[in-house]
């Protein structure tokens, strides 16, 4: 167990859960709900830090926020934005089926699961690091995983929670950073996803190392990001932001893109076995995203932690 001295009561609660298999999702105490969280959690949260200390977001231990009933409409609107196929996240929705199917198929092959099952990921613990509005976390929960979605954006998580409640899917959403999960002694995950997030963090190598650190022996990690190539600059920054206006200008900073080699070095350093990158490319003719060998713009990397 990492840093046992930092484990506080919240984490005891998390560890105490029946997390694998048996526990029914509906009875899970962390089931998202629009109703305000019971008081004690908030109080414990405050008590775990010395009075007057300024909290740095990176140091916060991820917790599910409470959604003020008065704010539900606001977050419902935000959730509708996130989940609208024609709204500002339209490119993500176009992109989503290809990567979700890839993750499912990779997990089914890696863990030897039933490919025909409607819920093949049943009983697996999954972390979606940088989950945003939950566009990946929620589908993973629907495929049976005990899905934990973590994002530093408080509003993202609240919108994601409101949406999960609306469609009645059990997702364990928390506001915070990945290193906070390690610090809090969160049990390891069978699947860790870091999708379209590495290019937004300040220290990608550290972030990938942290994600890898949360992966259980025999576990599977999938990372997706943008490559730092001239082509990626032309397509993902100039094309998608300035020409097609798919994304707001300034969404991506080319200099922060991560090359497959950099990702491989960071993940190998964290003890993972890293596979060759899989390219994800957009065909302007069919309007579809397909997987292939061309990793020069968008790509995904699969890495696994050896069993022992």
């Amino acid at each position: 167990m990492l840093l046992p001295d930092r484990i506080n009561s919240i984490n005891q609660r998390a560890i105490g859960h029946e997390l694998h298999g048996g526990a029914s999702l509906t009875s899970h105490p962390r089931r998202t709900t629009c109703v305000s969280k019971p008081e004690p959690v908030a109080r414990r949260n405050k008590r775990s830090y010395p009075m007057g200390k300024t909290l740095v977001r990176d140091e916060t231990i991820p917790e599910a926020p409470s959604v003020d009933p008065a704010e539900i409409d606001k977050f419902r609107t935000m959730a509708a934005d996130w989940w609208s196929p024609t709204g500002k996240f339209a490119p993500l929705h176009k992109f989503n089926p290809a990567r979700l199917t890839f993750i499912r198929d990779t997990a089914v092959a890696h863990f030897g699961l039933d490919a025909e099952s409607r819920r093949p990921l049943e009983g697996l613990r999954l972390l979606d690091a940088g989950c945003g509005g939950g566009l990946v976390t929620e589908p993973m929960a629907r495929l049976g995983a005990h899905a934990v979605g973590v994002d530093a954006g408080d509003k993202n998580i609240k919108a994601a929670m409101v949406h999960a409640d609306q469609v009645q899917v059990d997702v364990d959403y928390r506001v915070g950073a990945v290193e906070g999960l390690i610090a809090s002694g969160e049990p390891k995950f069978d699947i860790v996803l870091a999708l379209e997030v590495v290019e937004h963090v300040s220290d990608p190598a550290q972030f990938l190392g942290d994600c890898a650190g949360l992966l259980a022996p025999g576990g599977l990690m999938v990372m997706a990001t943008l490559n730092r190539t001239p082509k990626a600059f032309a397509l993902a920054v100039v094309g998608a932001e300035h020409v097609l206006r798919w994304l707001p200008v300034g969404t991506h900073e080319w200099s922060k893109f991560v090359t497959p080699d950099e990702a491989r070095i960071a993940l190998t350093g964290a003890g993972l076995a890293v596979q060759a990158p899989v390219g994800v490319s957009f065909s302007p003719f069919t309007g579809k995203w397909t997987l292939g060998r061309d990793a020069s713009v968008n790509y995904m990397i699969v890495a696994t932690r050896p069993k022992n």
């Binding site: 196929p85 089926p97 499912r104 609306q166 469609v167």
Partner: protein, 426 residues
């Protein structure tokens, strides 16, 4: 007993909605993966296809099943459907081919002719043994009902009129007499006056023609040799589609007033009128079934999907009966929709969400609009003044003399063009 009532949450966590559902559970509540409104050929085929992909479906149908007093009804139903070879593959994939072949008649050539000029294409043009099959409505209904009864994942609720449809989160709710269906997705296969389409607030855009189609069965005086024939008469097209035992399904489109008079005639009178109008085309045909009539129109829904709802078949589009493409379009909807749902479901997406269903409209609506426009064009051109009819007939003849053009026509009529869903894969 509602599943909502079993949630082990303290009562004060229940939202009002769940609470009301639990209270109203006097009616039996079904909770399938997909609810299908309408148990016609499109609805039942869809339910079967979804079941084979692992989805539980409940079909709500107002009608009577054929094995329970419906058999007589089916016998009296003289409608018949042209199933293009591309769509026939759907029935093959669902394991229904053998049962259907018992009464289906292969169509090996299609003729379309004006008074002068026309086009004729044969199965060879598209390198298929047949261009399609003619299946009588009664046979299709009994085969589909038997298959649905044998399929554990399909629950068919007969004599279940849908009183109300509510589309919302987390599920769509169908209120039937004595039961409710709650499902993340409801598919409206409930015909031109679809209640699902109305609940989704989708406009049905188009117009009626001043025409009525009369459908009946006739006994031919000479073998049809597997030819589906259409002739363009001044008041509208007439189609003669081959059935077993040298019978044919006759679809006669007439101006509404004339059609009314034709329907009022006795059998002998109708035969005389038929001989007068199309004697050279259809010599000595005798009536061998009841006469049905339906108005002819062209309507397309603005979209085929909405949040928690999708439309398939006549609820999404009504086209001119010319060319026998109506049910084929519906079957293509089924095949495309099954792929769209299965793709979304495999990815863990909410199959009733607009984002998951959006590809369905994109996939199908253009094809439907093109087919509808082609049928409309044919019908209009061949009801136009004589010079236009002549020009059109000659143009068709010219096109028909080019092998590649014939091949294209044959493939289009066979439903074998464009991006094919997996159920229709060659």
């Amino acid at each position: 007993m509602g599943g909502a009532a079993r949630l082990p949450r303290p009562f004060f966590f229940w939202s009002a909605r769940v609470y009301v559902c639990a209270m109203a559970s006097a009616a039996k509540i079904h909770r399938p993966d997909v609810a299908v409104a309408g148990g016609g050929p499109v609805g039942l085929t869809l339910a079967l296809a979804l079941a084979r992909r692992g989805y539980e479906t409940v079909v709500a149908d107002a009608g009577t099943p054929p094995d329970k007093g419906g058999a007589e009804q089916a016998k009296a139903d003289s409608r018949a459907f042209f199933i293009a070879y591309g769509c026939w593959r759907i029935f093959r994939a669902l394991g229904l081919e053998e049962a259907l072949l018992a009464g289906a008649e292969p169509v090996t050539q299609i003729e379309a002719e004006g008074r002068i000029g026309g086009i004729n294409f044969i199965a060879e043009d598209c390198a298929e043994p047949v261009l399609g099959y003619m299946v009588e409505a009664g046979l299709l209904a009994s085969v589909l009902h038997a298959a649905a009864a044998a399929e554990a994942r399909v629950t068919l609720l007969s004599r279940a009129r849908i009183d109300h449809v509510a589309l919302g989160d987390p599920c769509a709710v169908l209120k039937l007499t004595g039961a409710e269906v709650h499902a993340p997705l409801v598919i409206g296969c409930d015909g031109a006056r679809s209640i699902v389409r109305r609940a989704a607030g989708l406009r049905f855009e188009g117009h009626d023609y001043d025409a009525t189609a009369i459908s009946t069965t006739v006994k031919l005086s000479k073998p049809h040799n597997g030819a589906a024939r259409q002739v363009f008469l001044p008041n509208g097209p007439m189609a003669v589609l081959p059935l077993k035992d040298d019978r044919a399904n006759l679809i006669w489109t007439e101006k509404a007033a004339v059609a009314g008079a034709l329907l009022a005639l006795d059998d002998r009178g109708f035969e005389l009128e038929l001989a007068k109008k199309a004697g050279d085309f259809l010599p000595d045909a005798k009536l061998a079934g009841a006469r049905h009539s339906f108005p002819v129109g062209l309507y397309i829904a603005e979209r085929f999907d909405a949040q928690r709802a999708a439309l398939a078949g006549d609820s999404a589009h009504v086209i001119h009966p010319l060319g026998g493409q109506g049910l084929n379009l519906g079957l293509k909807d089924v095949a495309a929709l099954v792929d769209v749902i299965a793709t979304a479901g495999r990815a863990g997406l909410d199959i009733g969400a607009a984002s998951a269903l959006e590809p369905y409209t994109r996939w199908r609506r253009a094809d439907v609009a093109a087919t509808a426009a082609a049928m409309e064009g044919f019908a209009r051109v061949f009801s136009a003044p004589l010079p236009v009819r002549l020009a059109a007939g000659l143009a068709l003849s010219a096109a028909g003399s080019v092998r590649e053009a014939r091949k294209l026509f044959a493939k289009e009529a066979g439903g074998d063009l464009g991006e094919l869903p997996s159920l229709m894969a060659r």
